[in-house]
């Protein structure tokens, strides 16, 4: 590791502009984490034009620092609503609801929030240290990757995001495949033949992924939320004594440690990320507990584990993006888009070519998490007040930011209409059970997959077995086959065993998936 570059990174972060953007990012993140409705990916999508604006002022690093802050900040905020209102602010805080709200009912909301904040901080910091140490090593390996490796890796990423995510796998795969198809619109980079342009000039340069993401995530979610009935006012539970006692800390520290490690590893996996990590950590805590029946009735480990894990995962999911250039989940796809928007090519060369950006962003997370820890314990009361702001007031504000923002990217009214079209598609997808996440991720990676595939075919002189005979791409192909084969095998086994019982309601992961899908 280049130690000087690491230290210089701190010099980058502590520049007043960058510190300010970091603060704004984590504050926005925490805010949207607290407010149910908009997720981090949607918020990042909506704010991409602002990143673009900042970058054209020469603040590339600041823009990325801010967007990164939104993602990990949201993990802190999501906890607050889970504990106080029984509403997960984010999908990654769904499991926190069980024990967090039970604790709140027993008058221990403060303890739950305090432990969650400490666990979040520890989890995130463990992951940043991992990122700091491992990032350069992974990047130096990835420098040797050729087109076949990239084709296989990007395809594996798309596949995992589709199969691991919420909801029906076939539907997620459909969404991903359509995303790959959308990426081919425009003139072909190899032969410059027009594809799916329908003889329009606007489509010749392809569909701008920022516009697509803002439509599918931003407008889609805004429209979808319009339909929600807001009959009941949210009355948060009262909180007292936010500082956890020494006994609570002692009881939850093993859970925090386990959660951090689980989160770190699941975050690195494509398709993993914060949601899966929090579920896995909860399951792990329940498994190692002496008395598993305590879970769901106010076990502090049930808050500590998942909250440490989701922050650790949120942080470690930056590793594949910053070192290989492959986003591991939909939020990272937004950051990938943001890097391209500010004119930086994500990939293993990033760390050498733009050490200021790499280390600036990585080190901003140390500082951002310190800010979050400082904010989330003493200022919890203020965030609770924000919960009283009616969603009806926030909706037009987000709508306006989205429309005005998308216009400013290219000063183009055409973009507004493309975004609205994708917004309606996104709404209809959510209504019919298709997740827009895999589509956006596949769309962002689409041109990389295609160009790598075609370069590989030229390299192999038309022999597709070349993918398997190269060691690294071969291993990745084996993974791809496993990911495809595993669910099919499971399905066959389940069909066979459940021929006398028509349905299997006791599958816990399915239950969680449905709950997570609500957000």
């Amino acid at each position: 590791m280049d130690f000087n570059a690491f230290i210089d990174g701190f010099a980058v972060v502590t520049q007043p502009t960058n510190l300010m953007y970091c603060l704004i990012g984590v504050l926005i993140g925490m805010l949207i984490g607290v407010l149910p409705g908009l997720g981090p990916a949607a918020t990042m999508a909506i704010l991409l034009p602002i990143a673009y604006g900042a970058a054209s002022d020469g603040n590339q690093v600041a823009a990325i620092i801010m967007l990164a802050g939104i993602y990990y900040g949201a993990q802190y905020g999501g906890t607050i609503t889970s504990v106080l209102l029984r509403i997960p602010g984010e999908a990654s805080s769904v499991v926190t609801v069980f024990d967090g709200f039970a604790l709140a009912k027993q008058g221990k909301a403060g303890t739950a929030l305090g432990i969650a904040a400490i666990g979040s901080f520890v989890g995130a910091t463990v992951s940043i240290i991992g990122l700091t140490l491992l990032g350069p090593i992974v990047a130096s390996y990835a420098l040797d990757f050729g087109p076949p490796e990239y084709a296989a890796l990007a395809l594996l990423g798309v596949l995992l995001v589709a199969t691991v995510g919420n909801g029906n796998t076939v539907k997620a795969l459909v969404a991903a495949a359509i995303g790959l198809l959308l990426a081919t619109v425009g003139s072909d980079s190899f032969s410059s033949a027009d594809r799916f342009t329908f003889n329009t000039l606007e489509l010749q340069s392809g569909i701008d992924f920022v516009v697509v993401a803002m439509g599918l995530f931003g407008v889609g979610e805004i429209l979808y939320n319009l339909e929600e009935r807001h009959g009941k006012p949210h009355v948060p539970a009262a909180i007292a004594n936010i500082w956890p006692s020494r006994k609570d800390l002692k009881q939850s520290s093993p859970a925090i440690a386990r959660g951090s490690v689980i989160g770190f590893f699941l975050g690195v996996l494509p398709g993993g990320g914060a949601v899966m990590a929090s579920l896995a950590a909860y399951a792990a805590e329940k498994k190692v507990a002496k008395d598993p029946s305590r879970f769901g009735r106010g076990a502090i480990e049930g808050v500590a584990g998942p909250e440490s894990a989701n922050n650790a995962a949120a942080t470690s999911s930056f590793i594949p993006l910053l070192t290989i250039g492959i986003p591991a989940n939909a939020s990272m796809a937004m950051l990938y888009a943001a890097l391209l928007v500010v004119g930086v090519a994500p990939g293993p060369q990033l760390i050498d070519e733009r050490p200021d950006l790499f280390w600036g962003v990585v080190n901003s997370m140390y500082i951002g998490n310190l800010i979050l820890l400082a904010l989330s314990i003493p200022l919890v009361g203020i965030f609770v007040k924000i919960l009283r702001v009616r969603p009806a007031i926030l909706a037009p504000i987000t709508a306006l930011i989205t429309i005005l923002g998308v216009y400013t990217i290219n000063n183009s009214v055409f973009d507004i209409f493309v975004m609205i079209a994708f917004g309606i598609v996104g709404y209809l997808m959510k209504k019919t059970g298709f997740e827009p996440g895999p589509m956006v991720l596949a769309f962002v990676l689409g041109s990389l997959v295609e160009s790598s595939f075609r370069r590989s075919m030229l390299l192999f002189e038309g022999d597709p077995t070349g993918f398997v005979t190269r060691p690294i791409s071969g291993v990745i192909i084996v993974f791809i086959v496993m990911v495809i084969a595993l669910p099919v095998i499971q399905l066959v086994l389940r069909r066979r065993s459940s021929s006398n019982t028509p349905s299997d309601p006791s599958n816990p992961s399915e239950h969680h998936d449905q709950e997570a899908g609500v957000r």
Binding site: V174, I178, G231, I393, L400
Partner: protein, 181 residues
Amino acid sequence: MTMSERETRTADEPDILAELQAEVARDLAEERPPAGGPAYQVIPALVVLVLGAGAAYLAHGYGLGSLRRPGPGLWPFAVSVLIMVLAVVLLVVGRTLDDAEKFTRSSLLVLVGAATFVGLGLLLPTLGFEIPAILLGIVWLRFLGGETWRSTIVISVATTAVFYVLFLYGLKIPLPHLIAF
């Protein structure tokens, strides 16, 4: 700690877990429309199938080339075929899924919301952003959100003013605007 916790549980909360689960289920059922029937599964699958078929037809026309020399149409054609296959799978196995939501009367709100987006897009180049933005605010706050007229006006005007400062001065992004200083 564990002892006292369990004591309180048996004393005043017979089973928090069961209670919580029931509450969550009730809330979710209240906030979202009910699940749609088989038509909600079949129609999207058919749309996907048609999309895949259309794309495959077009891609074929762009020239597939060979594996040795892939043409511009090869990759989109392969993806389109995949889309068609997945759509057929969905038609076969997906008919009984219950992950789709019914369209209800409140879905009309979404239509109105989308219409205001289109309206702003149409008016922006000619009228500048201020008046359309205030109009959008009024529709969303008063008619979609049920706010009072007073807060509707205050919030719409204030939001537009903040955006004016943010975009034109803060970010120095040129938006079409009426009022110039």
